[in-house]
């Protein structure tokens, strides 16, 4: 009888390796920083074990539970959301260049954030001072969802959603939002301009349990639901008509995927700013090693995206410690050359 292809085994090995990688990076993220904490103590604090030494134990415990752990969880959630959403978007748009920003999430969030930063202080001085951390993310989240909704309505006609129209409308919308942000930047003062610039480069700074409590419930449903999209996205790779012939409800798939992605990425962008490149590089990196099957690509993307962003965050806060770099700079500085290197050494069988 014929031989069953062996790719599946290689894939489960890759998945396991990614799990191990995430654990290692998580431990590193908690132990490294302006105060360095031994991995042994990290475990003692996290699992409530008997401390082996008392020196600075209370301080370290505080740093771990109040600063680094929420930041780690936030970083992992944002990274997983961006990477898995990127993979979903590429499948949905049947386009290797698609990223989570394509459905207007980033442009909408960016414009709303600019409105909040520049105009928020002028017209709602109370809101800006009383809700210093919640105001900006809330505005960004609303902006993200609104823009996705607008694009979705533009692209849908008679119960069918055209991905090509959505893509084109998304480009137009991004230009408009960019122009709007430009107008606001023009009228902003120096401090606002600085806030705007740093927000647009992304940061996990200021991660707190309350932020985690807001973001994780929005990202988690996507991460749980996304594997159920795998069969549909695989079929979509053959074309929309073929997906329909194979019994996929194409329009339900589109609506569901867009909804899930806009909520997860909207929440991620809202709390951490614009972090580019994770959504596009991670799925391609995995396609090069484990192939295009979404059943593996989606969980693997989430795992690798989480590792990558947490890793980038370690760099962001250690390179110029005790100060911090915007994380978007790190992901692009290291991500882009690595991606190009990967493309250079692609095998003869690789084609997208």
């Amino acid at each position: 009888m014929h031989q069953i292809p062996q790719v599946a085994y290689r894939r489960s090995i890759v998945l396991m390796a990614l799990c191990v990688l995430l654990v290692l990076i998580a431990v590193a993220a908690i132990s490294l920083g302006s105060i360095s904490i031994a991995p042994k103590r990290v475990f003692e604090v996290l699992f409530g074990m008997e401390p082996s030494g008392q020196i600075d134990f209370a301080r370290d415990a505080l740093v771990i539970t109040q600063i680094r752990l929420p930041r780690l969880i936030l970083g992992a959630a944002v990274g997983a959301a961006l990477a898995a959403s990127g993979a979903v978007m590429q499948g949905l748009f049947r386009n290797p260049l698609a990223d989570p920003g394509l459905i207007g999430v980033s442009s909408g969030a960016g414009f709303a954030a600019a409105v909040a930063i520049v105009l928020g202080g002028r017209f709602l001085p109370d809101a800006a001072t009383k809700l210093p951390f919640a105001f900006l993310p809330m505005a960004a989240f609303v902006g993200a969802l609104m823009s996705t909704l607008i694009l979705y309505v533009v692209a849908s006609r008679g119960g069918r959603t055209s991905m090509a129209i959505m893509l084109l409308a998304g480009i137009a919308f991004a230009a408009l939002a960019g122009a709007g942000t430009g107008w606001l930047a023009y009228i902003s003062d120096d401090r606002q301009l600085r806030d705007l610039t740093f927000w647009s480069m992304g940061s996990l700074g200021g991660a707190t349990w309350s932020k985690v409590a807001v973001v994780v419930p929005m990202v988690l449903p996507t991460l749980i639901a996304v594997p159920f999209l795998a069969r549909g996205l695989n079929a979509m790779a053959l074309g929309e008509a073929e997906a329909f012939h194979l019994g996929i409800s194409v329009d339900r798939l589109k609506t569901g995927a867009i909804l899930l992605v806009s909520i997860a990425v909207g929440a991620a962008v809202a709390c951490s700013g614009l972090i580019g490149f994770v959504g596009i590089i991670v799925p391609h990196l995995l396609r090069l090693s484990v192939g295009a099957n979404y059943r593996f690509l989606l969980p693997a993307s989430a795992l690798l995206g989480a590792s990558l962003l947490v890793g980038a965050d370690i760099c962001a806060r250690t390179i110029v410690a005790p100060s911090e770099l915007p994380i978007g700079i790190i992901t692009a500085t290291f991500g882009a050359p690595f991606f190009i290197w990967l493309l250079l050494r692609r095998g003869p069988e690789f084609a997208v």
Binding site: M1, H2, Q3, I4, P5, V7, Q90, G91, R94, N95, P96, R231, N234, A235, A237, L238, G239, A241, E242, F244, H245, L246, G247, I248, S249, R287, G291, A292, N293, P348, E349, F350, A351, V352
Partner: protein, 282 residues
């Protein structure tokens, strides 16, 4: 007894243009039905109506007595498989994965291993086992077409565990194939039909192959059903000349009523007022 496929008074309108007009026919499992006609006659559009991808403006398509639009999508996917003209796969899926996709979510009581096996036998059926592990995107056009055919075979095989008889819709399935694989594919489709459980509907351009492999030939012209030819009543020379606007040198040959076309006249050699000529063996 209700027919497996019944098309009743089907009209499809896009804006003001009627792409298909008042088409009616019925077909049973066990039969190979070819659809022929000049470019733009509505062949692919008709196939899209039959697959359920588009709904007729007027009239209806029924499968097993049930209106196509009312058949649940998964049941429909078990009932009929479709092979389109050119599958444009994005991302590096292997040929095996593409074929395996045909079996997913279709049929009942199939384990993962069963589906793997269905995909592999389908690949073997089209003589494509050797490139099972290759990236679909790096295959030649003809190889891709064979893999796409294997995918529809795998879909039928999986669907058979759920529902029977079934329908196989092929849109110009041999456009990129070499002669050997053209004949092999059509022969395979005919064998499938002869098993008695499958109705094969195939859009073809080659009239001789249509006559060789099909039991009946639906001739479309400008969205209308011009005629239905059968084995006993093949297309007449006059009709072919009228519909396809070519002049035919029909050549009778002993034994088989139709044999592969002898391309005696190259298109490049045409004069200004000369009609393209084709030689048909009848």
């Amino acid at each position: 007894m209700t027919e497996l496929l019944a098309v009743h008074d089907l009209t499809y309108q896009l804006g003001n243009r009627k792409l298909l007009e008042r088409i009616s026919f019925a077909a049973e499992a066990g039969e190979v039905l070819a659809i022929v006609g000049p470019n733009g006659a509505g062949k692919s559009t008709l196939l899209r109506m039959l697959s359920g991808e588009e709904h007729p403006t007027e009239g209806s398509v029924s499968i097993g007595g049930q209106k196509l639009a009312s058949i649940p999508q998964r049941q429909l996917a078990s009932r009929r498989a479709v092979m389109l003209q050119n599958s444009r796969v994005v991302f590096p899926f292997t040929a095996f994965e593409v074929v395996r996709l045909g079996t997913e979510g279709i049929g009942v009581g199939l384990s993962r291993r069963d589906r793997d096996q269905l995909a592999l036998s389908a690949l073997a059926n089209v003589d494509a086992e050797e490139f099972a592990e290759r990236n679909f995107l790096t295959l030649s056009g003809g190889e891709q077409q064979r893999v796409s055919f294997a995918r529809s075979l795998a879909q039928l095989a999986a669907g058979r565990t759920h529902i029977s008889p079934q329908i196989l819709l092929l849109d110009e399935p041999i456009a990129s194939l070499d002669v050997r694989h053209q004949l092999a594919l059509l022969e395979h489709a005919r064998t499938l039909a002869r098993s008695g459980n499958v109705l094969v509907i195939v859009v073809l351009h080659d009239l001789t192959l249509a006559h060789t492999f099909a039991d009946r030939i639906l001739v479309l012209r400008k969205g209308k059903l011009a005629t239905i030819a059968t084995r006993n009543e093949p297309l007449s020379r006059d009709l072919i000349e009228e519909i396809f606007e070519v002049s035919i040198a029909a050549e009778h040959c002993h034994g088989t009523p139709w044999r592969p076309l002898d391309s005696a006249h190259k298109a490049g050699a045409l004069g200004e007022n000369q009609m393209p000529r084709a030689v048909l063996s009848i």
